[in-house]
Amino acid sequence: MAKRSVVPFGPQHPVLPEPIHLDLVLEDEVVVEAVPSIGYVHRGLETLVKKKDYNEMVYVTERICGICSFMHGMGYCNAVENIMNVEVPDRAKYLRTIWCEMSRLHSHLLWLGLLADAFGFEALFMHSWRLREKILDMFEISTGGRVIFSVNKIGGVLKDMPADMLKNFVQILDGMEKELRETTNIFLNDYTVKSRMVGVGILSPEDALKRGAVGPMMRASGYAIDMRKTGYAAYGDLDFEIITSNDCDCYARCQVRIGEIFQSIDIIRQAAAKIPDGEIAAAVKGNPDGEFFMRVEQPRGEAFYYVRANGTKFLDRMRVRTPTFANLPAMLQTLKGAQYADVPILILTIDPCISCTER
């Protein structure tokens, strides 16, 4: 039997955007076990419900994560709106959908860049992020922020997108699509890139189900699970198919995410064409009383928002289960039996967002 050794990986490591620590138990070059430890960026955001009222919490929740900040804010708002029986105007729902899909676009492009960086393809990393920059500019034009948008409120949204702005965005996305095809073509067809991803990090459908994987991780193992199909915001009115793959490896996850990039562009186009006129926010009176579970599909997978209110302006409890937390067991499964050199790619394959996980 080969000699076992333990190699610490992280919390500071060139490939990690955020701190997570793994103890890798190696037999020669093969990982036999990985023991994770998190807790480096815990901020106690959930406890803030005791100090901030339910309206202020919108701004706290969107600071859980810098990438899916819009969806965090929206998920929380949806939960409180459901408790208070607030009917959100249709225009607000469509606007939320458009911002959600823009978030998905920029998150997946960010991930593609980080993946390229993980296998040392710096030029591809730059190109992915160059394209992402256009989405961030669109966010700044429409919401006033590039990372934190502050456009959600209980009952709707705070800012409207005029028709010419929407038209402009669709034009930008049309122009981007060709460049995106070029860039993603390299991820899908380049020999060097494929040699790092094909057959690496297999997560069998049984393992994915048993370990409760979510999002692209689950969909790349053949399960068509997507919370957008539950029809929150305006997703119920829009036409889209869940993208899945049966290959179960890193390449399949990359394929699913790239498919979702183009799907997001399509959804934005549909939403921009269908968006109705009208109010962007409904009036909200009183305080919430009750509890609700909201499930939204973030770029990384399904997120839960559990909100329990007691009739005062301070909530009893808010709990967020983020997709990275759900995907950690699946990641540990893929690490078992992997080559040590593949560990960075396997960690990135779940698109880890540690700040989300720790809140």
Partner: protein, 133 residues
């Protein structure tokens, strides 16, 4: 296998195209109209109701009705715009231009002068300039 050279086309194109970045600082960044840079107050219209102070999630605003002062800690402010939405007199606004670095963490103080005195009351502003970009 053509897949080995798949990046060559893009690389060549980039060699002869304009840079994707702007030449900062020679060419300044133009912010869109909606950019949330910093909070501004039109102190003449302020009635010192304190709504902004109560709404502010990071508690960056202090309003004192007795002395007629409105203060904001620029470094605590997260530019969420909640104060602007809740202002009954609409005298608050959020405008482009980020807070500049300062040596000391001081509050920006605005004082409303007594009403009948001057024709156009000058606003008193102590800490460093937040100019629109």
């Amino acid at each position: 296998m053509s897949s080995i050279m798949s990046f060559t086309g893009m690389a060549l194109k980039n060699l002869f195209s304009k840079p994707a970045t702007i030449q900062y600082p020679e060419q300044p960044k133009v912010y869109p109209e909606r950019t949330r840079g910093h909070v501004e107050i039109n102190i003449d219209d302020c009635i010192f109701c304190g709504m902004c102070m109560r709404n502010c999630p990071p508690r960056a605003i202090k309003v004192d009705r007795a002395s007629g002062t409105w203060e904001i800690m620029r470094f605590d402010c997260v530019q969420c715009g909640y104060c602007v939405n809740g202002c009954p007199k609409k005298c608050l606004s959020i405008v482009p231009g980020y807070t500049e670095p300062q040596m000391k963490k001081e509050a920006d103080r605005f004082v409303k002068p007594p009403a009948p005195k001057a024709e156009k009351p000058a606003e008193q502003k102590q800490a460093g300039g937040q100019k629109n970009a």
